[in-house]
Symmetry: C2
Subunit: 222 residues, 2 copies
DNA sequence: TAATGTAAAATAATCGATTAATGTCAAGCC
DNA sequence: GGCTTGACATTAATCGATTATTTTACATTA
């Protein structure tokens, strides 16, 4: 592992464990966008009581994966064009801002994780490559000393990933490795203009591709 | 009310009502930064069971007012210089971005709320003026069609407000009315350069004043 | 037929109690 | 003295059951 903060699994509560599992399931597209969340069903599925289930789901509201309304309960946030556009816009701006700061103040420790992440990406496939791609973005942002901003970048990355998973987006037609390499190179060269710009473009390209795919498949998803 | 979305109080659950009350209390500085949150005590204080109390508090984690750690419980987030700087930086950037968008796409409905908010601010005092000031910032951002960004602006505004309340900041030495008027004027003139710039400066000035006050009083708050 | 009312079913919210884990503190040991 | 150890107190996590509310299905009526 390159970036993981190792956490003793015994320290996790049921609520945390279940929350993480459900988060992954939603991002993977295994829970239908717009669907009501049935807590009783999840209780059976995960074999824990309602309290931790409720707590688990309610944490995902902050991640913008679940919506909540008093006395109506929870539902998986629906997909829509406006939402996808906002995610793209914010993610591009926020990651660019974070990278700019990282370039300004990032340590050697920060730098060294970037080529490592690139190497992982280029030498893995499938699920592992997707995870490596996440780690690449996280590694760029990691040097910036703004924890709230870092969390926001992570959150927005997850939201993009959900669209990508549901739309079966695989970056076809793009020189992904080349884009990543250029971003990494600019970051390591501490180019505070080029790095963030390339990163923003990289994200906008993903967003545009996702939007195009979404428009095409929008009817099937309704 | 200028901006309030009217909500039937009977529709609120205990968890929501208590969450809002505790949020206000933390922002008002009535709960000591860094303090452990004692759920049993809150249970007595608010006269409801642990479930809604726990849910109420846990929602404030997303607002960055409360921190949580598995099996350790909740604590009021501490004040610190780095945190204040990040809030300032992000709030300035985010509100400027939101205003830029509002200027680009805001409706007449959006425009009209701005002078109204100014008028309220200039004709009220104390708590009511503070509320009017919040509404002014909300009214600027409101025209932008990015709900996540709007929520983030609200959250960051609340975080600034907590520092301001705890540090007894009242904007002394500033021509607040003048700053607001200039921002409003640029917004209404649809100046997508000047408006966001003035707004960012306005926020940065607040942030700088808060930082100065915080450095001065940091020892008393430990 | 469309609108309205209503009883039953489903779901959400909350409670009180139990279980599990952590933090405290004083006795014993080096 | 400073450091472990273990009983005790405190707090966190979870459970199962109860209560309140909404949703659904169906019958009634204008």
């Amino acid at each position: 592992m390159i970036l993981d903060t190792h956490i003793d699994p015994a320290k996790l509560t049921r609520a945390t464990r279940v929350s993480n599992e459900i988060r992954d399931a939603i991002i993977a597209g295994k829970m239908r966008p717009g669907a009501k969340v049935n807590l009783d069903q999840l209780r059976d599925e995960y074999g824990v009581s309602l309290s931790p289930i409720r707590e688990a789901i309610s944490r995902l509201v902050a991640d913008r994966l679940v919506e909540f309304e008093d006395k109506k309960g929870f539902r998986i946030v629906p997909l829509c064009t406006a939402n996808l556009l906002e995610i793209t816009r914010l993610r591009a701006d926020f990651e660019a801002l974070a990278l700019k700061h990282a370039i300004a103040i990032g340590t050697l420790e920060w730098e060294s994780k970037i080529p490592a992440a690139i190497h992982h990406m280029n030498n893995s496939t499938g699920t592992r490559q997707a995870a490596a791609h996440d780690l690449f973005h996280a590694s760029l942002v990691r040097g910036c000393a703004m924890p709230m901003l870092r969390d926001l970048c992570l959150m927005l990355g997850n939201l993009h990933k959900r669209y990508a998973n549901i739309l079966n987006y695989d970056g076809a037609g793009r020189d992904m490795a080349g884009e990543h390499a250029a971003i990494a190179e600019a970051a390591l060269a501490r180019d505070a203009e080029l790095g963030p710009t390339l990163l923003a473009r990289h994200i906008e390209r993903t967003g545009n591709d996702l939007s195009a795919l979404f428009e095409k498949h929008a009817k099937d998803l309704k």
